[in-house]
């Protein structure tokens, strides 16, 4: 085991429950909860901002006299004269009444990109959406820098996050285990977990920060290379949205996995740092 036992403490539980180890460092726990809170507000305020112009484009600018849109959310009046919400993705239109384009009470629908329950404030208020977004964005970025620095210094990144060659080789088995909901509670991340966390922490988090900054006309003057990296301001806005979608997907899987792996033990480890390892697997791991 590379993880360190609590030293000088009596076993907290009867032996059959397995040993309790220190799993998550303080920096990991603090940044985790900063991100959790910040992302909640960033998501809902971000959808508020998106609703001010619910279309996404590829390139430097938005096509009004030409078409470079890859996503459009709106409402149209159908042949029967009844309005309906329509979402067009890559030229293919879908009726999304009730969620996208048109939502709310049937007798008094609101015509907006995302529905009231998905935005902050619930009503249309771009300026407040921006205030919330740019407030929590600072916490999100600060937590990312703290996490990156501490993970580089204390080895968390290399030890726990970056997949090793062995992890890559074991990936098929790891995927098969997950599909059977067979989990190893040895306190270490398996290959699939490492890829998921590395993808979120080292690709999506920097990606969502940098694509956000690419939308800033001020930052375009400061760091013009951002536009080259992301292929223009409107592409950056699209990628910012894609990163958001991936994070929402990650969040859903993350919660399902926490519930499947034992929510009390998992929650304890991300709050207090203490995690109970499974007795059978831990012994096996120790002899490895």
């Amino acid at each position: 085991m590379t993880v360190v036992d609590e030293i000088g403490e009596a076993p907290l539980e009867p032996p059959e429950s397995g040993r309790v180890i220190r799993r998550h460092g303080l920096a990991t726990r603090l940044t985790h909860w900063t991100w959790a809170i910040a992302l909640f507000f960033l998501l809902l305020s971000g959808l508020q901002i998106f609703n001010a112009h619910p279309s996404l484009y590829i390139g430097q600018q938005s096509g009004f006299e030409f078409d470079n849109a890859i996503l459009k959310i709106g409402a149209i009046r159908g042949d029967d004269g009844v309005p309906k919400g329509v979402t067009t993705i890559l030229g293919r239109s879908f009726t999304t009444t009730g969620v996208l384009g048109m939502s709310g009470a049937t007798e008094n629908p609101s015509f907006r990109g995302f529905p009231t329950w998905a935005t902050l404030p619930s009503y249309q208020d771009l300026s407040t959406g921006r205030v919330i977004h740019f407030f929590f964005a600072w916490f999100f970025v600060a937590a990312f820098l703290v996490w990156l620095a501490s993970s580089l210094i204390n080895g968390h990144l290399r030890r726990d996050i970056l997949p090793s060659l062995a992890d890559v080789k074991a990936l098929p088995k790891s995927i098969a285990d997950h599909l059977r909901f067979r989990f190893h509670h040895d306190g270490k991340y398996n290959g699939l977990q490492k890829f998921a966390y590395a993808g979120v922490l080292l690709v999506i988090f920097p990606g969502i920060i940098l694509t956000g900054l690419t939308m800033s006309p001020g930052m375009n003057a400061a760091w013009p290379w951002l536009l080259d990296v992301f292929g223009g301001r409107q592409t950056a806005r699209t990628l910012h949205f894609v990163c958001m979608t991936l994070l929402v997907g990650f969040f859903v899987i993350h919660i399902v996995m926490v519930l499947a792996a034992g929510p009390l033990n998992e929650m304890r480890s991300i709050i207090t740092g203490r995690y109970r390892i499974n007795p059978q697997t831990s012994e096996k791991e120790e002899h490895r």
Partner: protein, 263 residues
């Protein structure tokens, strides 16, 4: 064992808070904290001051906004906000093709001056192809021609105590119960003296159309579109923004938008 109970209690608290947050987003539970005058909103809005300071450090005073090739001008400049002012003085000027229009420069200057459109067109010009970013999220690339604002300010000789430049406009925006409110905007002297900050009289090789702010609009290329006042009546150099509108430095700022719109 007791530790575990504490942890379980803590877990339940967190789970409870998390569970409560989900329907909160669904309903309007947080809206009360976010309305115009709420202190929570005011506190969050102060982060914009941090953004302003940090961007001022990261962006050199004269660092240029990206400029684009002529081939990137693929459409007309999309008009937004006021597109056809109906204010009486404006209609009079428009009726005479702005021939008796004069741009007034007033406030904290040694020598208040005014310029006709012809005088401005005969001053050293700057043409730039830049991207206009609306706060709503869209962008549009267009070619702009005009006089550097720095040049206009130099003609009037700005006094040392000056801190901001205010643009007073001909157009009024209807605010329901408050009636029509004249548009105005303001920027600091760093942006006012930036080489790409021009008082534009031309757009895409044509005289500035009414929809885009004829006879004059300002271009402030490192900020969002709402900063770039159209239908400019006069330019006032000031040391404080308090006397204007509700004191926040602009029409949209008075309604809750950030004064610094570099993000």
């Amino acid at each position: 064992m007791s530790r575990f109970l504490v942890n379980r209690r803590r877990f339940l608290t967190v789970a409870g808070v998390a569970a409560a947050a989900v329907p909160l987003s669904g309903c309007d539970g947080l809206d009360g904290y976010l309305s115009g005058q709420s202190p929570v909103r005011g506190f969050m809005a102060s982060a914009n001051t941090l953004t302003y300071r940090v961007q001022r450090v990261l962006i050199g005073a004269d660092q240029l906004a990206p400029e684009f090739a002529a081939s990137e001008v693929r459409q007309g400049q999309r008009p937004n906000g006021s597109t056809d002012p109906t204010d009486a003085d404006y209609l009079t000027l428009q009726g005479r093709a702005f021939s008796d229009y004069r741009l007034q420069v007033t406030g904290l200057v040694e020598k208040p001056v005014s310029f006709s459109l012809n005088e401005l067109r005969n001053m050293p010009a700057r043409t730039q192809i830049t991207r206009h970013d609306c706060v709503e999220g869209w962008s549009c690339i267009a070619k702009w021609s005009g006089v550097p604002l720095a040049r206009v300010l130099d003609e009037a000789k700005v006094k040392p105590e000056a801190r901001f430049v205010v643009f007073h406009c001909f157009d009024s925006m209807n605010l329901g119960l408050s009636g029509a409110v004249p548009y105005y905007e303001s920027i600091d002297l760093i942006d006012a003296r930036h080489p790409q900050t021009i008082v534009a009289y031309g757009c895409n090789d044509q005289p500035l159309p009414v929809a885009n702010g004829a006879p004059l609009r300002v271009r402030i290329e490192r900020q969002l579109g709402y900063k770039m006042a159209k239908y400019i009546k006069s330019i006032e150099v000031v040391s404080t923004l308090e006397p204007f509108g509700r004191g926040k430095g602009g029409f949209w700022e008075d309604l809750g938008y950030e004064w610094y719109a570099g993000i």
